[in-house]
């Protein structure tokens, strides 16, 4: 059997899988912040109990995702860290890119650099853009830096020198000297972690890795110890932001690759649901309490981009965080979830979010003291959520409080009609999400009308059918395990590492030996980090027309020559920008491999749920734009007979969520326990 855990901000989710039968058992435990391994132990014991098995039954690697690395970075609970730069460039970290993420706020706040000026050390050395030595490394100077680091009690060191993406020779020399003097202190080299051009982003990434490295190492050890104590004698593997899993040995050296491990696992889970249904391309849509996330799955795998931001001062303002140049599942984040608060702004417009009521006091309808109207309150007023069966009956809802919040906050704009105000909130949220999805897909050259949508997370099944209708998406799938899809994704993710390197090469200067050497170096590093045999190597290059500043990634094959590179690039360029370029010179900027270890994805059949027994047929008054307030059937989703078609309007309840089926949409359950909703696209309002 296999087991996985996803340590999230509130809950730690566990999934246990019997590979022989494909059965899974789901568990949830409150995340234990003082010692994360406690919740894992609690959860694993719980699912083993449900399955009536003991720990001996677990006979393959335990796979996990964790939010700890991100938390350590955001909450600034990392190690005492020092940065070594090229002489004259210690301030790169503080100078940044010099632009303002908000043009109109003279009081905007920038994230503080991870280390103060006194923790930045400058080494005398210099390479030029070709990697040639302009100034040799002053080794005696580095010895003196080592003395200072020892005296300052530094626990972790980042080294980022100019042009180390071309040659890491000077960085490696510094690491040697430091390690001889400070053998206990881990050293992160930018030329190994992230050998790509642009010194500010590379410095921040390298420093962030060094900053979380000791904390992450302890965290992984805690988990390993907890597993041993439970009696599970299996290797621990961890999910990276790019959707591949790695051994703890590699994760310990490069914990920064794990920043988005939970959301990446969710995208992998959505891709897996698609593969079960022979759907290669889909929109993965996850909506929780404070935000929604959207990711494109293409060819059975989530798309990956290179670089994102962590610890934003303003969650949704790009540029307000620390840039991390690492591969990450390409997700857009929208500041609207169930807890997002609606208000009328200074212009009288109805705005939803980004402020969230969180879980305390939460939406007004929770009856915990909240008075501001949230998306969840709108869903309550519109009749979508069952006041008596919220979170599987664990909580009851105060409908009157939700209605009151609508009128008190938004009544002036909606004639004191709570349903009109709630409908306004739902429209704004759904349109906002649909617009974001539309933009994200068209930026990648896709037409959303050709993509099915997989919706998961607490609030997504409530809104997904309407968002699909606005987008013209014809097919919606709500997986049985919609509430724990990340933990499910962990069980089906292959071992994979990704390596990239900047090497500027013009296509007209094509040299096969040079190019094979670049790829061979990347694969060699990948092999080392993977720690297993190599099953498959996928090659990618980022290209641009000479003189442009942005690159497009295209997959290339081992036998491709310059003509194939050009053709693939030009085709992708036309696909994305809708123009046919006739520029002559093309430049390759970044070379990349994704290297997979051997892995056979298990088959997951129908999820075991304690909830699947009864079916009470009843109705509730609910509102849709096409119908107004109508009596709609209310069913338990997992109790539907496989294949029975339910024509909307209808409300299908899940243990952790509610699927809202719009007028003339048709819903049916498949043999895996996924709910399919065929959207009545012709009637989009």
């Amino acid at each position: 059997m296999r087991v996985s855990f996803d340590i999230g901000g509130t809950f730690t989710d566990i999934v246990l899988l019997d590979e022989n039968t494909g059965r899974t058992w789901l568990g949830k435990a409150l995340t234990t912040y003082n010692d994360f391994s406690q919740a894992i132990a609690t959860g694993i014991s719980q699912v083993l109990g449900d399955a009536d098995r003991d720990t001996d039954a677990i006979d393959s690697a335990v796979v996990g995702a964790t939010t700890l690395v991100t938390n350590a970075l955001i909450e600034r609970r990392g190690a005492t860290t020092a940065l070594v730069t090229t002489e004259g460039f210690g301030d790169v970290l503080e100078i940044g890119r010099e632009w303002r993420y908000d043009l109109y706020d003279p009081r905007l706040q920038l994230p503080d650099p991870l280390v103060d000026p006194e923790a930045r050390y400058e080494a005398t050395e210099r390479l030029d853009a070709t990697g040639a030595v302009v100034t040799p490394l002053d080794r005696a100077g580095v010895e003196r830096i080592a003395d200072q680091l020892a005296a300052a009690g530094v626990e972790s060191v980042a080294v980022c020198l100019l042009h180390s993406y071309v040659s890491a020779a000077h960085e490696e020399e510094i690491a040697e000297i430091l390690q001889a003097r400070l053998p206990e202190v881990p050293v992160t080299l930018s030329g190994h972690l992230v050998p790509v051009i642009r010194e500010y982003e590379r410095t921040v990434t390298t420093l962030a890795n060094a900053y979380v490295r000791p904390v992450a190492g302890e965290h992984f050890e805690d988990i390993e110890r907890a597993l041993v104590q439970l009696g599970i004698d299996q290797q621990l593997m961890l999910m990276q932001s790019n959707g591949g899993v790695v051994s703890t040995a590699t994760a310990r050296a490069y914990p920064i690759r794990l920043l988005e491990s939970g959301p990446a696992a969710g995208a992998i889970g959505a891709a897996y649901v698609g593969r079960q249904l022979d759907i290669e391309n889909l929109i993965a849509f996850d909506m929780g309490g404070t935000t929604a996330k959207v990711c494109i799955v293409e060819g059975g795998a989530p798309t990956v981009r290179n670089g994102f931001e962590v610890g934003r001062v303003h969650r949704l303002k790009s540029g307000s965080g620390l840039p991390v140049s690492m591969p990450v599942v390409d997700m857009i984040e929208i500041g609207a979830g169930g807890g997002s608060i609606a208000h009328l702004d200074g212009l009288g417009l109805l705005k939803v979010g980004p402020k969230s009521a969180g879980s305390r006091p939460g939406p007004a309808g929770y009856g915990l003291g909240g008075t501001e109207p949230t998306v969840t309150d709108a869903d309550i007023v519109l009749g979508y959520l069952d006041p008596a069966y919220f979170l599987g009956g664990r909580m009851s809802l105060d409908v009157e409080a939700s209605r009151r919040a609508m009128v008190d906050s938004l009544g002036t704009a909606f004639g004191d009609d709570p349903v009109a105000a709630a409908a306004g909130i739902a429209r704004v949220v759904d349109e906002h999400m649909a617009l974001a999805v539309q933009v994200h897909l068209t930026e990648h050259g896709h037409d959303p009308r050709t993509f099915p949508m997989v919706a998961f997370g607490g609030a997504a099944p409530v809104h997904a059918a309407r968002i699909a209708r606005i987008l013209g998406v014809g097919r919606l799938i709500i997986p049985a395990a919609a509430g724990v899809l990340s933990a499910t994704g962990l069980l089906v993710a292959a071992p994979m590492v990704e390596e990239s390197r900047t090497r500027l090469r013009e296509l007209r200067d094509w040299d096969s030996d040079d190019i094979e050497a670049i790829f061979a170096d990347l694969v060699a590093q990948a092999r080392h980090e993977l720690g297993t045999d190599i099953d498959r190597v996928d090659r990618f290059v980022e290209m641009r027309f000479l003189g442009q500043g942005f690159e497009i990634e295209v997959p290339v094959a081992a036998g491709d020559g310059p003509d194939e590179y050009r053709a693939k690039f030009v085709a992708e360029y036309e696909h994305i920008y809708g123009t046919t370029p006739d520029y002559e010179r093309i430049e390759i900027v970044t070379w990349r491999v994704r290297v997979y270890g051997p892995f056979e994805a298990p088959d997951l059949t129908r999820t075991v749920s304690r909830d699947a027994a009864e079916d009470t047929t009843r109705t509730r008054a609910a509102w849709w734009p096409e119908t107004g307030l109508v009596e709609a059937p209310v069913r338990r989703m997992l109790a539907l007979p496989v294949g029975e078609r339910v024509v909307g309007p209808a409300i299908l309840q899940l243990p952790e969520s509610t699927a809202v089926v719009g007028p003339l949409d048709e819903a049916w359950l498949d043999e895996f326990g996924n709910l399919h909703v065929d959207i009545a696209t012709g009637s989009a309002s």
């Binding site: 002489e87 004259g88 460039f89 210690g90 301030d91 790169v92 503080e94 100078i95 940044g96 890119r97 010099e98 632009w99 303002r100 043009l103 109109y104 706020d105 003279p106 009081r107 920038l110 210099r126 030029d128 853009a129 302009v134 100019l162 042009h163 993406y165 051009i197 642009r198 010194e199 500010y200 702004d345 200074g346 212009l347 009288g348 417009l349 109805l350 705005k351 938004l410 704009a413 909606f414 306004g424 909130i425 429209r427 704004v428 349109e431 906002h432 617009l435 933009v439 930026e443 500027l504 027309f545 003189g547 442009q548 500043g549 942005f550 920008y577 809708g578 123009t579 370029p581 989009a684």
Partner: protein, 511 residues
């Protein structure tokens, strides 16, 4: 007929903003001009059939926020609306038609529906080169500054105007890049036109002029409400600048009367012989400066300026006569600071001390074995402090241009940057200190002299503090340890020679 409730207006407005944002993404990603892709020197907008600004890309640099609509209207007036056909792209870089300066090209595309223009989409981008002095301040009229393209059809009913491209390519130093920039503008507009068409397809009842009335009306009401909060009266101020050959002063009087105001620049220095004059950027920066002071959260549109009357004497630095040189319209960057000085007593929590502006520019041109190159490098000074907050070091204010990474600079031009450091204590003193400037040392590694232009400010006149705060440190520009005689001029940069520059610090706030 659309029912304009609080939800509908929000949704339509957001959709339109998203069109401008998507256009900008295409422009940014496909342009060849380094100042566009690394420094974001661009704008994208959606306008009504009358040429009124409806929405704008949120990160457009402020200088364009008041110019795009005027340029589009002037182009349409010159060419005649009746001559426009589906698939046209019209463009100009001429200051005579409201454009900022020659290096910026404004391109507009009419969006047709049922044979009628229902909107324009427009983009502006700073080209890789425009011949002549290009960005240099030393030219003495617009003809010397470079190639001027009067309003023309860049694309005629879907077909590129090859004659215009041919003439343009033969008047610039890096023709391939410039034509690439032109293509980027066309691609951005094509996307915008497609998006507007799709928007109207999905909601055929939507009338963009009606939407404009709602959007601009809401904005106008919010601006008027903010002005009403300021007591009636006159609010005068001034600010001094290095100028070119002689110092210049911007003088302003903001007079508030009820829910409207007049911003009067009477008393400002007369226009310069050289290219530091500001024509249309005066309006962009006045609107931007007032938006920061009055209602920073409002997106920009035609409604933002209805309550504000702007008076600029003809023949002054901020409103030069036709054909005056305007390439380095940097004095306009001091406008938000002078407006803050004027209104600091009325709006003490919104005003900021002067920044170490404008950003400095070093333009490097030459010939490598791989062909000609032109690099435009930007270096920002310190931000001005405000009540309750120190200024940040090296933060672009009031413009918003990023630096070019050292590794990119050195990959593209034969230079070595020896150091790039923050000049500690260069921010003005005060209860809240101004932001610090930076010191950068550049060495030429080329085997032949390079053609270098400088655009600098505040070497003689530092950024003043506000509400009792001290001035920031002035800037400094040396070549081989010798002060550059004309820091807005042009030099022949010798192999191995060393440029040292220090950008100015921002002013402090409060005693």
């Amino acid at each position: 007929m659309t029912q304009w409730d609080a939800a509908t207006l929000q949704i339509v407005w957001q959709r339109l903003i998203s069109v401008a944002d998507e256009m900008a993404a295409v422009l940014l990603r496909t342009a060849f001009s380094s100042v566009v892709r690394e420094s974001n020197d661009l704008a994208c907008a959606v306008l009504t059939p009358r040429g009124d600004l409806l929405v704008e890309y949120g990160r457009s640099v402020p200088v364009f926020t008041g110019t795009v609509a005027g340029t589009v209207r002037a182009m349409v007036a010159e060419l005649g609306e009746e001559t426009l056909r589906p698939g046209d792209v019209i463009a100009t870089n001429s200051p005579r038609y409201g454009n900022t300066h020659l290096p910026d090209l404004t391109a507009a595309t009419p969006v047709f529906r049922d044979g009628r223009i229902v909107a324009y989409v427009a983009s502006i981008c700073h080209l890789s080169d425009i011949g002549g002095a290009s960005e240099g301040a030393f030219a003495q009229d617009v003809f010397e500054e470079g190639f001027c393209l009067p309003p023309v059809k860049l694309v005629d009913a879907g077909s590129p105007n090859e004659l215009v491209r041919y003439i343009l390519a033969n008047n610039v130093r890096v023709p391939a890049q410039v034509l690439g920039d032109v293509d980027a503008l066309i691609a951005a507009n094509a996307l915008g036109a497609r998006r507007i068409t799709a928007l109207l397809d999905s909601d055929p009842t939507l009338d963009l002029e009606e939407a404009a009335a709602e959007i601009c009306g809401a904005t106008e009401r919010a601006v008027r409400a903010a002005i009403s909060e300021i007591p009636d009266g006159d609010y005068p101020a001034s600010i001094d600048l290095d100028g070119f050959e002689e110092p210049k002063t911007i003088v302003v009087n903001v007079s508030v009367h009820g829910d409207s105001m007049t911003v009067d620049y009477t008393g400002t220095s007369r226009q310069s012989t050289y290219g530091i004059n500001s024509a249309s950027p005066t309006f962009g920066y006045t609107r931007y400066g007032m938006a920061c002071l009055l209602a920073p959260e409002l997106p920009n549109n035609e409604g933002a300026l209805r309550a504000i009357d702007i008076v600029v004497p003809k023949g002054s630095l901020l409103n030069p006569r036709t054909n005056a040189a305007v390439s380095a319209n940097f004095p306009a960057h001091a406008i938000p600071s002078v407006l803050s000085r004027a209104l600091v007593d009325a709006l003490p929590d919104r005003a900021s001390a002067a920044a170490g502006t404008p950003f400095w520019v070093v333009g490097i041109r030459g010939e490598k074995e791989t062909g000609p190159f032109a690099s435009l490098l930007c270096f920002n000074g310190g931000q001005g402090a405000s009540r309750g907050q120190r200024g940040y070091a090296t933060l672009s204010t009031p413009s918003n241009v990023s630096n070019t990474p050292v590794e990119i600079v050195e990959s593209q031009a034969p230079v070595l940057i020896e150091s790039k450091t923050i000049v500690r204590d260069s921010g003005g003193t005060g209860a809240w200190r101004g932001g610090e400037g930076q010191e950068v040392v550049l060495v030429s590694r080329h085997d032949a002299p390079l053609d270098v232009i400088f655009l600098t400010e505040r070497i003689e006149h530092p950024a003043p503090g506000l509400a009792g705060g001290g001035a920031g440190a002035p800037g400094m520009l040396l070549v081989d340890d010798v002060k550059v005689a004309e820091p807005k001029g042009r030099i022949s940069w010798q192999p191995g020679s060393r440029i040292l520059m220090r950008t100015p610090g921002g002013g402090g706030y409060g005693a």
